[in-house]
Amino acid sequence: MYVTIQPAGAPGATTTTIARPAVEAVGLVKTYPGKVQALKGVSFSVSPGAVFALLGPNGAGKSTIVKILTTLSRPNAGHASIVGHDVVREPERVRRLIGVVGQKSAVDLEATTAENLTLQGQLYGLSGGELRRRVSGLLERFDLTPARKRIARTLSGGMQRKLDVAMGLIHQPQALFLDEPTTGLDPEARAEMWREIARLAGEDGLTVLLTTHYLEEADHLAQQVAIIDHGQIVVEGTPEGLKAELRGDAIQVELADALPEAEIRAALSVLDNELREVVIDGRSLRARVDSGASALPGVLAALDAASIRAATATVARPSLDDVYLRYTGRAYAETEDKEQIR
């Protein structure tokens, strides 16, 4: 299934074809030895200067896409290009156009902050005054100047992550790939990283492709979001468009007792015209309505009439959580197993 959603109220407004997408993937297939099909035909394109988020749970195929787009890995089928340069046929060219910040911090722990940046620049052929200027510029920009002579091992996780991003920018790339840039960061460091990413795309006009399994991160940062599940993109669009497509609010009622699903559905049958996408999951009941505030009393009354007691009830504007639930049939949190999401 592959769906493109336009923002509500502007049908076709964003369909203008852009001559040269900053990043383009067409029908990417990747099978790892052992016959694990990590990607089953992934296509998308990112316009220059946009922040594009690949959203999905661990193991969905996000990192595999990044590895192919950054020339680390070759697809078994399909092709991909960066600003028109094919990643398989012109890897050298592509490497100079992209900056990559991997899932794990990849700083050299035995080198200082400045040495890490300097070596990274040298690997791109930079040297002399130009390299020194860029190193000090990036140290300044990421507030790492006071830590320039510190061995990276002694830096905090947040500082190491900033150094990772700074290293990804040393050669002034056109597109920056961030593979789960905030995983493992504390809330404060995460907020700082978000500000930085927004600034990169905004002020610097960089195209940013980020992968994340944090829904709020995609919602907060990205102009385009693609939800990926089991190696396939299930839906793509703007966060607003995706949410608007859901038409209406989400209501969620936590029941006081666990009851058979059929019993709850029977109690709600009087509201069949009002409630959409009813999902019952243990004691939690979720549904979509045109207006939460006006529908909720009816829901509670219907439950009450069937002697079903409600513990809590909430109304929420649509979120990417709901988008995810709708297109994958699973609540986002459930796919994360024991992993802490927020």
């Binding site: 100079r96 035995e110 690997l123």
Partner: protein, 258 residues
């Protein structure tokens, strides 16, 4: 080509800098040869009294052996830094830059070769202090160093290849130890070949570690036996090239598996 050389120098520099920041590592690599020299020098001192032992003193005999053995032992650790780089994502970070792939391999080998050379010179100096003499003179010492660096480079390449395939520190170290120690004892590092059991003599003939030790023993004789040296150096060079080829193959296999 210039880019490859510049990149190699940058990679060598990275390792060198990390080495200089680890005083315990420096002391460790120095202490081990001291232990071998002094401990074995004392333990096997009476070997010099056995009929058939021709060298002037046991320490004179032992020193080239310890030079070769130490080179092999320390080069065997080479792959551990690859494992760390793969674990940390540093390897992948390098691979998404335009850095010459040959420089990633070559730069590390240059560092290893330099370490082997430094270590060898220190052991030779130490050996001299405790009574070893080198009647073969400077030419024979250069030959010892060439053979040792070749053997060290070969083992570093092998260690790197294993690291790229195994990707686990424990497996690499276990395999390294179970390879290097037997090879040392199946060479004439501690005992002259003619004092070994017959089957060991046969094994030693095909043992590259023994080739390096035998080239190194030219320091003991007044004149260099050139044909003898040439055959063994050629063998060591061939081994180094084969190991380098293996490490390149392993590197490509790693790239494909990413």
């Amino acid at each position: 080509m210039t880019a490859a050389l510049a990149n190699s120098a940058q990679i060598t520099n990275r390792y060198l800098r990390a080495f200089l920041r680890q005083p315990y590592y420096i002391i460790g690599t120095l202490i081990q040869p001291v232990i071998w020299l002094l401990l074995f020098g004392q333990l096997f001192k009476s070997v010099a009294d056995i009929p058939g032992f021709t060298a002037a003193s046991y320490i004179t005999f032992l020193t080239p052996g310890v030079v070769v053995m130490s080179a092999m032992l320390s080069a065997g650790w080479s792959g551990t830094s690859y494992v760390v780089d793969m674990d940390r994502g540093v390897m992948d970070r390098f691979l998404v830059t335009p850095v010459r792939r040959s420089a990633l391999i070559g730069g590390e080998l240059v560092y290893q070769a330099g370490m082997v050379l430094l270590q060898s010179l220190i052991i030779l100096g130490l050996g001299y202090l405790v009574g070893a003499r080198f009647p073969g003179g400077p030419v024979s010492i250069v030959l010892l160093l060439v053979a040792t660096v070749l053997l060290g480079t070969a083992f570093a390449s092998l260690s790197n290849a294993l690291a790229l395939i195994l990707r686990k520190q424990e497996s690499l170290i276990a395999l390294n130890v179970s390879l290097t120690l037997p090879l040392t004892f199946l060479s004439s590092a501690f005992l002259p070949v003619n004092l070994m059991p017959e089957w060991m003599q046969t094994v030693a003939r095909y043992n590259p570690v023994n080739w390096a030790v035998e080239v190194g023993r030219q320091t003991l004789s007044e004149s260099v036996d050139w044909p003898f040296v040439a055959v063994r150096l050629a063998g060591l060079l061939a081994l180094t090239l084969v190991c380098a080829w293996l490490s390149i193959r392993a590197f490509r296999a790693y790239q494909r598996s990413v």
